[in-house]
């Protein structure tokens, strides 16, 4: 949207000199000050900025925690408690980091659902969306490895279970698993490499975020109407101060929720068992991942049956591999979402049916999360199987079918029209 031309005007000798050599101020000006954003963005669009700040919060708290953390099976648990008890503000940094991960996922889920609701993934923003899914995957890997570091019972058994996924791969599974673990079971080499990667991946996330923002600035932001900007002058406002102040407000409100958990309920999102030192001879009664993995965990556990060639006993995919495939698939399917949704209309505001299916999908995801926290027996498994089927049906059946079946509402010709119409109806509430 910003196109090739820049409105940056170096004001003094130094900025002119620098602009001819390294146009960094011009870049910042064009990207974060003059960059035009649609004027009708709502609060849900502040989560991008919130996520950027949360990434910085996680990196800063993480870097200082690493200064006191000991990555060894003998020292890890005690070093975390040392941080909590003896290090100046160590308790605060660790609480921020641990709860920050939860808040990060909370924000990313809102960000993803916002993208789904307003059809932000559609042409020409497919690459933008795919980069986002990639960030989500990297976040999951980072969060999982971070959870192993305190070396509590859940850390250890979570690591054991998750790395067990790889043993599901036919033929080479066990070899890959042992290669990942650096041993026959989760141990010192595992902890050390997880620490190393946990430190590395966030910087890779920063890199992909840069690409994500770059892609965003090429195509420009969508907006609640889903209509592309047609008249730059009438329909956009400069990023600063309009988007900046909105992002700050969103961030401040988000931080109230964040602080609520950090200061008053710091263990709410955690599991008591992680305050017990890892013990490789004793499994906790229920192994539960962190809440943000629960829907995927439920999908993993829903596949309890082997898939055979019909009328024979030849097993094509056993239940273990099936579960892993389903779980991987539930995330991988997001990569192809731009091509599964065949509707020409972007925003759910003008898609009455999609809007309903969207909310059903949200509810199904939350219910899957709830099931993921329940023991895997009896009715819970059946419910998880039904909901897993619906999860995939949403992408593979409902979305393609809707594009063909649904009759969208009249889409406004431009953002300006939509805004003006909204204003006039607001002025005459009697209508």
């Amino acid at each position: 949207m910003s196109g090739g031309h820049s409105e940056y005007n170096p004001s003094n000798g130094f900025t002119k000199w620098l602009d001819a050599r390294l146009p960094l101020p011009r870049f910042v000006y064009d990207s974060f000050i003059a960059y035009p954003v649609p004027r009708n963005l709502n609060g849900w669009y502040t989560f991008g900025a919130i996520l950027a700040i949360m990434l910085i919060v996680q990196i800063i708290t993480g870097v200082v925690l690493a200064m006191h953390y000991v990555a060894s099976t003998a020292g890890a648990f005690n070093s975390v408690e040392f941080i909590m008890r003896d290090v100046n503000y160590g308790w605060l940094m660790r609480r921020l980091h641990a709860n920050g991960a939860s808040m990060f996922f909370f924000a990313v889920y809102i960000h993803i659902f916002r993208g789904m609701y307003y059809g932000s993934y559609k042409n020409p923003r497919e690459v933008l969306w795919i980069l986002g899914v990639l960030i989500f995957l990297l976040m999951m890997a980072t969060a999982f490895m971070g959870y192993v570091l305190p070396w509590g019972q859940m850390s250890f058994w979570g690591a054991t279970v998750i790395t067990g996924f790889f043993s599901a791969i036919p033929l080479v599974g066990t070899t890959i698993q042992e290669w990942l673990l650096g041993g026959f079971a989760v141990g010192n080499p595992t902890l050390n490499r997880f620490f190393s990667l946990h430190y590395l991946l966030p910087f890779m996330i920063v890199g992909v975020v840069a690409l994500h923002v770059w892609a965003l600035h090429v195509t420009g932001q969508t907006n609640p109407t889903g209509v592309e900007v047609k008249n730059m002058k009438k329909e956009t406002v400069p990023f600063t101060p309009y988007a900046t102040i909105k992002d700050f407000l969103g961030l401040s409100l988000f931080f109230i929720v964040f602080a609520w958990f950090v200061f008053y309920l710091p263990d709410y999102m955690g599991h008591p068992d992680n305050y017990i030192r890892a013990n490789s001879l004793k499994t906790p009664a229920h192994i539960v991942p962190e809440w943000y993995f629960l829907p995927f965990y439920a999908i993993l556990r829903a596949i309890t049956f082997n898939i055979s060639i019909p009328f024979t006993d030849i097993v094509l995919i056993n239940s273990k591999l099936g579960g892993v495939l389903a779980m991987v698939g539930s995330i991988a399917i997001l990569f192809v979402l731009p091509w599964l949704d065949t509707s020409k209309v972007r925003s759910a505001s003008y898609r009455p049916l999609y809007k309903q299916f969207f909310w059903v999908f949200v509810v199904v995801s939350v219910l899957l999360g709830w099931l993921g926290s329940k023991p895997a027996d009896g009715g819970y498994v059946i419910a998880a199987q039904i909901l897993t089927a619906y999860y995939f049906a949403h992408f593979l059946i409902i979305l393609p079918w809707l594009g063909w079946y649904e009759k969208p509402k009249q889409v406004p010709p431009s953002i300006a029209d939509a805004v003006l119409k909204k204003k006039s109806t607001a002025a005459q509430p009697a209508e």
Binding site: F82, D86, N88
Partner: protein, 186 residues
């Protein structure tokens, strides 16, 4: 915001200034915990004092103990060494300050450098050269005290810098004799 707002802040300007100030204060406040986190922690500070049994150190002998991760020289000096130290005029010294944390400021006399009246034979010093922190070697150098092999600093029998690049006398940590046998450092 035209020329008028420069001379007389409007209500809108006040709001902007208040919000901006609030944000700046908040940003500054959140920087503090991660910075403070890097300073010594409670368990490190708790180990800041040690007790040493010095009853077996004969005149002319020295031991080195570890205090706060640094070597501390504890030397029971011979009468000759004490005498030599006392014979040096303050004006001859490169660093005229006692550098004794038990005293505060004071001239680098032989008594001020020792464990005090009646215990002049004892000298307790942090064994890191005041140049760049290497450990000086005892009973060597041009003045019969300590010699730092890293960059050639010579200290006399009272641990005062006499020659070489080091700027200050060897630092004397806070210490006291709890009894004749026990020395408490820190």
């Amino acid at each position: 915001m035209s020329a008028k707002s420069k001379s007389e802040p409007t209500r809108r300007d006040f709001l902007y200034i208040a919000t901006g100030t609030m944000g700046a204060v908040g940003a500054a406040a959140v920087m503090w915990p991660p910075i403070r986190l890097m300073s010594p922690d409670a368990s490190t500070l708790a180990l800041s004092s040690i007790e040493v049994d010095v009853s077996s150190i004969e005149p002319g002998q020295a031991i080195t103990v570890k205090w706060r991760g640094k070597p501390v020289f504890i030397r029971n000096r011979t009468d000759k060494e004490v005498e030599e130290a006392g014979a040096v005029a303050i004006d001859e010294l490169k660093d005229k300050e006692a550098r004794n944390q038990n005293l505060g400021a004071g001239p680098a006399t032989a008594v001020n450098r020792s464990a005090g009246e009646g215990k002049e034979n004892w000298i307790v010093m942090i064994g890191n050269c005041t140049h760049l922190g290497c450990i000086p070697v005892g009973l060597s150098g041009d003045f019969g005290g300590w010699f730092c092999p890293c960059h050639g600093s010579h200290y006399d029998t009272a641990g005062r810098i006499r020659k070489g690049p080091a700027p200050e006398n060897l630092l004397i940590p806070p210490f006291e004799f709890i009894s004749d046998e026990t020395l408490k450092i820190g």
